[in-house]
């Protein structure tokens, strides 16, 4: 009987140990996220900003894709600022104040760029109205 009791204790101990090992975080070792945020909103804010900013070393890439040293530093800086609670507007302004409008792929809506942002729609309206007028004239002539 003593023999079977020992066996029982051993069995349960090993079971408990096995249980701990199997379900402990060590079992399926996880990779570590490069940039950790405590909300998905902040994560998407980060993604948005790094995709919108130009890498100044590899100038045809954005900060998200570039492997340049400066790109990594800027990503880290943006990450820290978002964690501190800064808004996209504040971070964009900071970067533009240091590097100029060149760094942002989304041109600002300023007196320099009104033509850029508005001309497609204004042009469409103008041509459409000319088209309508011509149609009217065409059909009235007949």
């Amino acid at each position: 009987m003593l023999y079977s009791k020992k066996f029982l204790i051993l069995f349960s101990l090993s079971g408990i140990l096995g249980f701990i090992i199997f379900f402990s975080p060590l079992a399926l070792s996880e990779s570590s996220e490069l940039y950790v945020f405590n909300s998905t909103q902040k994560k998407s804010q980060f993604e948005e900003i790094i995709h919108e900013m130009r890498c100044l070393v590899c100038q045809n890439q954005n900060l998200a894709d570039s492997n340049a040293l400066l790109a990594k530093d800027l990503r880290l800086m943006i990450y820290r600022r978002i964690r501190n609670g800064e808004s996209t507007y504040q971070i964009r302004n900071y970067l533009i104040s240091r590097y100029g409008d060149f760094i942002t792929f989304r041109p600002p809506f300023s007196h320099l760029t009104y033509y850029l942002w508005l001309s497609p729609f204004i042009l469409l309206l103008i041509i459409f109205f000319i088209f309508l007028l011509k149609m009217k004239k065409f059909n009235n002539d007949l």
């Binding site: 040293l69 400066l70 800027l74 533009i96 240091r98 590097y99 100029g100 060149f102």
Partner: protein
């Protein structure tokens, strides 16, 4: 008349493309010209205990050179900087960008040290604050701590005389004029 309109459009576009040929699309003018050097706090590369702050730029003209030991072009401007320092033409400070302490110190021993003070910026955060995007870059800072000129790339004697020295002379003339008047 409206049949010539396409030709006019062509010439306008070609004009801009033509002018574009003379420009370098990768050069970035600094928005910090005529702005103050930002506040900072960093260690000196060679004297670890010394804390450097913005006030080191005040009361004299400064040439701030951004360099790294891993930057091949930086060594090409060393001889010119050393001659500037030897003839006491201007105070030269260095900003050591994203470098290893020992490599940087070794590089200075090999290349010569024209810098009176060297800001050690291993994380590159002060460089970002200054709008640095490559090495070498140099800044001309006036006695009020205002950035007056930024040179992207190698600093040569030509750049010094034609861009930076002129600004210093102009400023001195204005000062002398103020005193006289």
């Amino acid at each position: 008349m409206r049949y010539i309109f396409p030709l006019i459009t062509l010439f306008i576009i070609v004009y801009f493309l033509w002018q574009g040929l003379a420009k370098d699309p990768s050069l970035l003018p600094s928005p910090l010209i005529n702005q103050a050097v930002p506040e900072f706090s960093a260690n000196d590369l060679l004297k670890k205990s010394t804390r450097l702050r913005k006030k080191i730029f005040l009361q004299h003209w400064t040439l701030l050179v951004v360099w790294s030991s891993w930057c091949v072009t930086c060594s090409k401007e060393q001889s010119f900087l050393l001659s500037l320092q030897k003839h006491h033409i201007i105070t030269i400070y260095g900003l050591n960008y994203r470098d290893d302490l020992r490599h940087a110190q070794l590089w200075l021993r090999q290349q010569g040290n024209p810098f009176q003070k060297i800001i050690f910026d291993p994380q590159g955060m002060l460089a970002i604050d200054l709008g640095v995007y490559g090495v070498p870059e140099s800044y001309l800072i006036d006695p009020q701590g205002i950035i007056r000129y930024k040179q992207i790339g190698l600093l040569t004697a030509n750049v010094w005389t034609q861009q930076m020295a002129i600004l210093i002379n102009q400023s001195n003339k204005i000062l002398n004029h103020t005193y006289e008047g």
